[in-house]
Symmetry: D2
Subunit: 351 residues, 4 copies
């Protein structure tokens, strides 16, 4: 099995050449550790974020998305508060109880079809307000792009933020694939996130061409008070900070994020287009970003997985007896040739 | 102020060229994320550790030393257990209560002259055994090199390990500068750590030429059961694992760790030799590794800090009215020229 | 509104006279604190438990049911493990995230009709075994009596215990109303709990005539190692321990627990019998213990609540537009006169 | 060995008759659980506190002193904050790491001679302010009476409170024996605690004649926001709340607290007076409250402990080769006869 150009996940891909070049370039001489003492590399990267999201933000680099989500949300709450999220949210499903451990609190989950939550689904949890036996809802966390490949519109985010604020809650966005969402919506980071009223954003890059690092962006600086201590206590303060900062600086320069995300999203559309020609397959979610969710016969899955690794997302979809739902992810480095090769293998087997 | 070649800390230096070259080399095509699915890069790096420490170990990569210490120690205990360490230990002093938060427990601190602890200093805590009102001592954690630049001999470690085990405790070693210690003692990793009975080691590299990543080495594999979940819950599982693994693989190849540590330690000795010529200065700790601790007149400190950043370690040393104790760290990239320049500045001022 | 003899909850009732008399009696002279130093009062109470549950148990007194559940379950797991329970379980619903805070972990919830869970509902969570991104299921927690007033048979418990053990899990029972369950099943504590393979039991008494205190009963003593430290760390070690111990001693003497539970259960049956005469009302769950769940017109609820406090359990039951589901709890001190008075009020309004 | 009237601890004694009588009296009919729904018993007790401490307070009942301290302090801080206390403080020494577990944070300990801390001892920790690697001092916690039997004057508390507030910290008082302190100083609760600027008080009663329960008193109501959730999450919300509330109500009526404390303190003075007649003994701490600390020959200790249980407080006092320091506690029920009997035994042995 060749693992080159798998469709397993966008974190199977490597570091894009622009970022790799930057890491090499920034690797000269000494630089203050921990982003302290006015480290110029870290300072420059933070400026880039401010240029894009607005001056009133606060920016903190951490190691990964798990931490960005857990720390960003923890900052907004105390242990008797609760977070509301989709059941499918990474925060709820895939962090081995890191949120519960660090927040000391509870995630209230919402079952969804498409990974997106609406105010009406959150509202029932508000019955707990003022009842001392229940954790008090304090944060709504959404994933943009969702774990189902779907995308919230700016208006949907604006509505959720207003709803959260009207009820004394905050809105957090898990933006592990935020660049893919911005590209899908043909908008900008500020329009989609700052202007809609989001409070805290986990700004991801690793899935879109970076080596490591994630950014917690407080879109309202006043919410970030003392966050440096929470980051340190969360074991997320990197000593050689320049190597995270420089990646994000480059990522936000010359729209590198956009170039990478456009490729990934475009390849996903092409993959979907190629696959929907096969009557045995069915695309299950609208392809907005870089993921394609497909119902696929189990024999075909077995065949393809001899050559490609990818995840089965739903082992037993409703109403399906011989098909499973798989997830195929495209990346900044996926090529048309990769699509053709994969589709060719499907075709070969289907005949 | 030029920040090139400061003596602030060994994490102000950059990535050594061999490691940087490796990162570029490993950056090709796709690779399984999270070290899963028999990721060949991660597997090869683990093999390197086994070749060096012995086959019976278990190896886990995390992001940084804070996490390696906190998770490695947490694995050995439950929340009603306690860790015993020197008061000066990084674990106790410099982690913003990360250990207390994650372990849910207490560090019992020992005051020392030189950062090293002895069994007789640990023993008084054993009065708590069986007393339900007290946290139960379960782990002794030592730093090798210590935060005072001193180094435990293999025999001292052997004695501490035997003492720990005889009393139902484990011995953890914070090896943020373990290469410097091995070089200082002119020994090997296995002789110093595996063969002396250490249970868990935080194996550092970032202070000796790596970009990011630290390794938790369980020297007895059976102690590592389920540690993958603790790592994930500790927000320390990197998705693009190959970029940590490859660094350590290279670090352990062709004795790169030794080359870098030899340079850093050697430069520290040279720096100490240069400084002890000045009667106004006094070296306070034996220079065994890459740190030099010096009593220095306050005016000289002010003068030097216009050109170099370094840390004042003790603002008010006993018996000193006009001198403070500073810490000067050498790194894998410190040169004789750097030493001469620094000493020259001292001389210039002293005259 | 008279609050005497409400049907709000069995913890609105007072302390039964036998227990009150015991508290007065044990209040003489000095007694070792914390149950230490072979405190005879605590020792005698523990003996009573052993006589009833078997010699191989370990017994620890705590303050309340929240703590008995949280500590009993915590003892069986580490923070990366997960507990599986009914969504309606007190552990999941009504502890203000105390379990998440103390365990540092996650509760995996199961939606049920009747508050009871079956192996087939637990099994899907086992897909997480060995997947480092997911908390690992380790404990199944059931409530006996459930929060819906239903009762597991001994056979159902035996099946759950065997299922748990076959998959490397433990079975915990929240027995806040365990006496009511034993009486409902006309069995004994040992047959229902020890002999069926339960691992840990929260043995409640406050809802059945005690003043304060709950007991964590490890039905397999070896599971209780070090639990005294977890209890202390959980802030649940009472200094004047004799006042908890003596209550349980008396409770287990002359079948006082049975007398109280028989009354409470019997009154619930009588209340149900009285209420089912009214066509506007509908009993929704089989009345096995001391709770009666009833669909009731909203106007009638308003009327009754002028005289009695009781909880609306379901504000919007499926298929009901003008009725809500209420919970009526009987207690050790409920009388036939109380039933008549309540039913009389219903009748008065219904006419 | 008779355990009646030991001098082991004031929690070896029973419940004073006035409180026992109250418990019996309040045990009639139903009462709202959890102090909810305007429970009249709880409401009345809270009023008593307000009458004594001032109207601007907030009052919460919990089960014990461990919890009052841990929850009261937790309320004032986040996990990256630290508490400063005497090394001898119960919070630091005797809670099996409950504070670290629940606060997720660190206690910074101060070595003292007499259990009392002064601003100059706290100040060195403020070097950590703004340094992201260190937990940030946020609460000073003192014990009044201290664990060494000493008592802070009102002026000393005022100075500490002003010092704390001037530096952005809070002052918490562990008042497990607060009645004994008030009696020792011949003052009142309001003068000693409200008027001196204390922020939060753990108001104890169990050591002075109550059965169970402790009160967290926020002397500034605004500090108590959301504390009901923290209490519940801390597993400290009692269902049959009236039985805690009624005890405190009675305790604060007709100066019962004073009567009990006067007896305990007075007996301690008498005990000290009797013991200081023996040249082999030495009282080590000024006897201000109900504890007497005595240097005692080891043979005498052995002899006395055949008849009385009491704690050796210091196994190896400085400069003593054949004496240990023991702690003798008097209680609300200690009598002159008890003193005579104990002193008689000393005399018998001494001859």
């Amino acid at each position: 099995m060749s693992i080159n150009k798998s469709f397993a996940s966008d974190n199977w891909s490597g570091v894009c050449p622009e970022v790799m070049e930057t890491l090499t370039r920034v690797n000269a001489g000494h630089n203050p550790a921990y982003g302290e003492l006015e480290d110029p590399v870290t300072g420059a990267a933070i400026e880039k974020f401010k240029n894009i999201f607005g001056e009133q933000i606060a920016v903190f680099f951490v190691y990964n998305g798990t931490a960005a989500n857990v720390l960003g949300v923890s900052q907004l709450m105390r242990s008797y508060h609760a977070v509301v999220s989709a059941a499918t949210a990474h925060l709820n499903e895939d962090e081995c109880a890191a949120p519960e451990k660090f927040m000391g609190s509870k995630i209230l989950e919402i079952q969804t079809e498409d990974g997106k939550i609406r105010p009406a689904q959150v509202e029932p949890f508000f019955k707990s307000f003022g009842f001392q036996h229940h954790a008090q809802p304090k944060v709504i966390s959404i994933s943009q792009v969702t774990e189902m490949g779907t995308v919230y519109t700016a208006e949907e985010i604006r509505v959720l933020a207003a709803f959260a604020h009207a009820n004394g809650l905050y809105l957090h966005v898990d933006g592990a694939r935020i660049a893919n969402a911005v590209v899908a919506l043909n908008t900008g980071f500020k329009s989609l996130l700052t202007d809609t009223g989001v409070d805290v954003l986990s700004f991801g890059g690793t899935k879109n061409g970076l080596m490591f690092g994630e950014t917690v962006v407080f879109l309202k600086k006043e919410l970030s008070k003392d966050f440096e201590y929470l980051r340190k206590q969360g074991m997320q303060l990197h000593s050689k900070m320049r190597y995270i900062a420089a990646q994000f600086d480059r990522y936000l320069t010359d729209d590198l994020w956009k170039k990478n995300a456009l490729t990934a999203n475009g390849m996903a559309r092409k993959l979907a287009a190629a696959l929907q020609l096969f009557p045995q397959l069915k695309i299950t979610q609208e392809v907005r970003a870089n993921g394609v969710f497909v119902l696929m016969p189990v024999e075909l899955i077995s065949h393809l997985q001899k050559h490609y690794f990818f995840h089965v997302w739903n082992e037993s979809p409703a109403g399906e007896s011989r098909r499973k739902e798989v997830r195929l992810m495209c990346s900044w480095d996926t090529t048309e040739e990769d699509i053709r090769a994969f589709a060719g293998l499907v075709k070969q087997f289907a005949q």
